[in-house]
């Protein structure tokens, strides 16, 4: 039981994909212009992570070692396309916001990384938990980065105005702001976790 819990929390804190493993930087930097965008991206990735981890864990004995990477990619790409179609059909608002970045989940290093490092070696249940933990960790980090960037850049969080946007510094919504926010958060996380 403690093992399960450890697997779940592993992705959220100790091996947080964004702050500790520093994987999946492309969507992290690109989609966190607002808290909502970051969270939607995180949740989409969470879904793909859990599904692909489960399927790859199920198939791990059937896939020969030599072709495991292409096989993993096919599985991941399938789930990503599913997410894309489902979002487009049922939550077009979210799809409009994320658009381009959904297909890019395919090449998100976290997904392939977890498939290779965890799902290919562990049981189905543990793999699902790992996917869930990693996905939650990714979602949380993206939401926090998005909140900070939105707050400093536009004076709002989740679209709720907190202070006059005259005093906001636009740079936080732009690319440089992503790096600045990420770096500070990473430093803080390191300070907390490494102690």
């Amino acid at each position: 039981m403690s093992n399960n819990l450890k697997t779940l929390t592993n992705g959220i804190l100790r091996e947080n994909p964004t702050f500790a493993l520093v994987l999946g930087m492309c969507p992290t930097l690109a989609t966190t212009t607002s808290a909502m965008n970051g969270m939607s991206m995180g949740l989409a990735t969470l879904f793909v992570l859990v599904c692909s981890n489960v399927v790859i864990s199920l198939l791990k004995n059937l896939i020969p070692d030599k072709v495991r990477i292409p096989a993993f990619i096919v599985v991941i790409a399938t789930f990503v396309t599913l997410v894309q179609l489902l979002l487009q059909a049922y939550v077009p608002v979210v799809y409009d916001k994320l658009g381009l970045f959904i297909p890019l989940i395919v090449v998100n290093c976290i997904v392939l990384g977890r498939a290779e490092a965890f799902a290919a070696k562990n049981s189905v249940g543990l793999s699902a938990l790992d996917g869930l933990g990693m996905g939650l960790g990714f979602t949380l980090s993206l939401t926090v980065i998005g909140m900070i960037r939105e707050l400093l850049g536009t004076g709002a969080v989740f679209g709720l105005h907190i202070y006059n946007d005259h005093y906001a510094s636009l740079i936080f919504v732009l690319a440089p702001g992503a790096f600045i926010a990420l770096a500070y958060l990473m430093a803080i996380m390191n300070k907390i976790v490494k102690k």
Binding site: L59, P64, V67, V74, L85, Q88, A89, P92
Partner: protein, 241 residues
């Protein structure tokens, strides 16, 4: 090795095809709904009670004319223009005089936090410098280019593209209206021309006619002419002159 890869791919393909079939009609209807909603949103009174005519294609612009109780109340015009990050697809509503009622962004890929402000920047009634609602389009320009519309801060390219699109929509809509009235004017003009022609032709002696007129009966002469032409058009009676 090959077998496992092939079978994984086949399963994946089947799953994808299945989901695609399940979702494709819904995706299509969502798109249609969004477009219909946008048409309604940009018409007067949110298109309440309006009847939308079949789309009209003018170049790359699509016009949806709206009528209410048989009277034209305006039109929703769909237009797209290359912005900063991609194509901006805009639905803009005009009243019959060409004043902008409202607009809606159907699709855009502008920079989030900057260019994507096009969604509401140009319909801010509190800031007349950037508001275009209720104004006539056609010559919109950002203030940087000597125009009178304030561009979005740090997103001039997106703003310019947006205004270009609105101008294009206006020209397509009003240009089309102009073409209609132009055509009707021409219809009026044609018989007049014909009359003149007939008149001159019939007399065969335009000079004489004007000579006549100078003799003191300008009115009559002209009256004669048109009268004549009408007769000529209806029959050949004019010959006896």
């Amino acid at each position: 090795m090959v077998l496992s890869l092939v079978s994984i791919s086949v399963v994946a393909a089947v799953a994808l095809a299945g989901v695609f079939l399940l979702t494709s009609s819904r995706i299509e209807s969502e798109k249609q709904k969004k477009q219909q909603q946008a048409i309604m949103d940009v018409l007067p009174q949110k298109g309440a009670g309006a009847e939308i005519a079949a789309p009209e294609q003018v170049g790359e612009v699509t016009i949806y004319r709206a009528t209410k109780d048989g009277k034209e109340i305006g039109a929703a015009v769909e237009v797209s223009e290359m912005g900063f990050g991609g194509l901006q697809k805009i639905m803009v509503g005009f009243d019959p005089e060409g004043k902008i009622i409202d607009y809606a962004i159907l699709d855009q890929q502008e920079t989030p936090g900057l260019g994507d402000h096009i969604v509401d920047w140009f319909k801010n009634a509190d800031k007349p410098g950037q508001n275009i609602i209720g104004r006539k389009a056609g010559e919109f320009k950002v203030s940087k280019d000597g125009g009178d519309v304030d561009a979005i801060t740090a997103a001039t390219i997106s703003s310019k593209a947006f205004l270009r699109a609105i101008n294009k929509a206006y020209k397509a809509y009003m240009g089309d209206a102009d073409a209609h009235s132009g055509a009707s004017k021409q219809q009026h003009a044609e018989p007049a021309e014909a009359e003149e022609h007939h008149c001159q032709g019939h007399h065969g002696e335009g000079h004489q006619c004007s000579g006549h007129c100078q003799h003191g009966e300008g009115h009559k002469c002209q009256g004669h002419c048109s009268h004549h032409a009408q007769e000529n058009q209806s029959g050949k009676e004019a010959d006896h002159e």
